[in-house]
Symmetry: C2
Subunit: 372 residues, 2 copies
């Protein structure tokens, strides 16, 4: 009998679990919000992830339940666990990926390095934070943000009046003076065994991950050790099972501080499909099934991943591919099978090699043809 | 709109087209003989590939039709071509992969290197061939053979009396004194553009491919050039589109002679999934869609693929995997999602590295745990 993994959410993360599921002989079932989503090739149930009854019915047919996104309500996850289906990451761990305020409180208790932050419940709270941080703050809604949504840089409390009047507590963070953004991914089994990929550099545009360089240039040694220690501590203390992504700032004064957490395969790990012996998608499936983890070495000295965003009026896939493939025969292409909309992530490309400038050039060139 | 590729046959070759189809945003549709076959995750129609009406209906929904096996009757393929759906490889090319006698006649006309052979229509024909070849011959049915079936070594005409009385012409070949078996794979687009992988060594057991070493040890230079020239000539002269596998004997007197042809992804190319920049499955999809071909370089100096055969009483997949994965974290596993039967190909493993002895050891060890 094949083991069966259920994934809540039918986006590109679920889609990219299909190839390793095929290779490992795992049956992948997806609970999607509508037909024709990115992962629709998997055995798909259409349903509402907020509805406990629908999720319970879906979960009854799988050996373990996991996620393509972090938006499933805690009470729904609790109901699945109570019904006897393992859920990884578990509800207690996932809470800290769902709620940024709880995450800051928990990581502070663990004395892990973070930006200055404060819980904001009123304009007075925010004014006090601004006053002590040079009249600038990154303000975040505790829940529901992603890809730059739910995040705002403010200089006065007035600029947050809409969020403040909504009555939900907010998170204020200092505007970190950073040199670059890094991400450390780790996979962890229920037994506690872990495997880390090398720390990577993540280049953001408009709050969205645009490019990833693996490993992060110049990170060997101190930076890599710091990033690994932080990710391993979080995975262990929060009892994360599956892939954990820790987004980090490398500050101008040479510290690493924790920016965000995700408890699932993450955009900063897409390079692993082509660049590592074991991809984050294969490793996530292995981890949630409590199978031994694969090796995480790099296939080439450098891997560069570039996201492909929907263009204004893209032609047929084959026409765009023909140009991209013709010009970049060594680059690997990944389509998310989505309708193209300006700014929407519709795929990514990965180039590998031993000359970083050349690898960056090939990945960017392929991405431009592909997304044109 | 995604391009749609239809595959006749739902076995492991169709299954292994799923991951690159997902990556490239290609919709894969499979015409399978029954439900639950190896490639059942693809959009599957159950039907009979011998029935022109059923194949025509299937072909009407795809942009191009290709194959997981070579058993589709010529008249069925001709009907699809007449109805306007491109079929690759085309019926004229495929004929030479379907009929070994026609293949020998055609390659002889092209003056390509082959074992001595003869068309056998009677006991007298066979006696004459035996007499001139040391009273030994490899006798083959012209059609329907695979994995050692339809092949027999005979020393007297009596040993072939059943086949001779069936009334179909047979192919007799000299028993080649060979040092080892090689295979050369090439992919070709309708435009004629080609890409070759390096020539590999194929180790057979009981007439079935057991292991593949890529590239074939010591093949750089003369052997590689000879193999490439032969495969390119066949691909061009027979107008093959898609992947062509040419199985070769390296004789004890240092010649290469052609053993068999296959016009689809082939067991001797499974190593390319993990060992080459572009796998044979991705390349086959690119070729039949007339998309530019990918680079075919090796990711590591050596790749070794070992087939996994069904064992006597295999336990749960997760138990077998746990052992195999635990011990060989760098090996890549490929399950065909099949019920295990003794001797049945149920998967394969691939190891990569720069020390051939170590790579062979890891691949064999992983295969033994996996198949136990």
């Amino acid at each position: 009998m094949s083991p069966t993994v259920g994934v809540i959410g039918g986006g590109q993360l679920a889609r990219m679990m299909i190839p390793p599921a095929v290779a490992l002989g795992i049956e992948l079932r997806v609970l999607a919000e509508s037909a024709g989503e990115s992962a629709s090739l998997a055995v798909t149930t259409i349903g509402d992830f907020r509805d406990a009854a629908q999720v319970l019915e879906f979960a009854a047919g799988v050996d373990v339940l996991t996620f393509d996104h972090e938006h499933v309500p805690q009470e729904v996850i609790a109901a699945v666990v109570a019904a006897g289906t393992p859920v990884y990451p578990g509800p207690t761990a996932l809470l800290y990926a769902q709620d940024k305020l709880l995450m800051r409180e928990r990581l502070a208790a663990l004395e892990l390095p973070m930006p200055d932050w404060a819980r904001i419940e009123s304009a007075a709270d925010l004014k006090a934070f601004l006053k002590s941080h040079g009249n600038r703050a990154v303000l975040k809604t505790a829940r529901g943000g992603y890809d730059g949504k739910g995040v705002r840089v403010v200089r006065t409390a007035d600029e947050a009046s809409d969020w403040l009047s909504a009555g939900e507590p907010l998170l204020a963070e200092e505007l970190v003076e950073f040199r670059r953004e890094l991400a450390q991914l780790v996979a962890r089994r229920p037994s506690g065994k872990t495997e880390l990929w090398p720390v990577v550099e993540s280049i953001q545009r408009d709050g969205v991950c645009a490019e990833v360089i693996a490993p992060a240039p110049g990170s060997a040694g101190r930076i890599a050790d710091l990033a690994a220690d932080i990710a391993l501590a979080i995975a262990r203390e929060l009892d994360v099972v599956g892939v954990l992504a820790v987004e980090l700032f490398e500050t101008t004064d040479d510290r690493l501080v924790i920016n965000e957490l995700a408890m699932r395969p993450h955009n900063t790990g897409h390079w692993t499909i082509d660049g590592s012996t074991t991809s984050q998608f294969e490793q996530h499936l292995r981890a949630v099934l409590d199978l031994p983890l694969g090796a995480t070495g790099c296939r080439e000295p450098w891997s560069v991943m570039v996201n492909v965003l929907g263009g204004p009026g893209s032609g047929a896939l084959t026409d765009r591919y023909s140009l991209a493939l013709e010009n970049q025969p060594t680059v690997k292409f990944h389509s998310y099978g989505k309708q193209s909309r300006p700014g929407r992530k519709v795929g990514h490309v990965t180039a590998l090699g031993d000359d970083l400038d050349d690898v960056v050039y090939r990945a960017r060139a392929a991405s431009e043809f592909f997304g044109a």
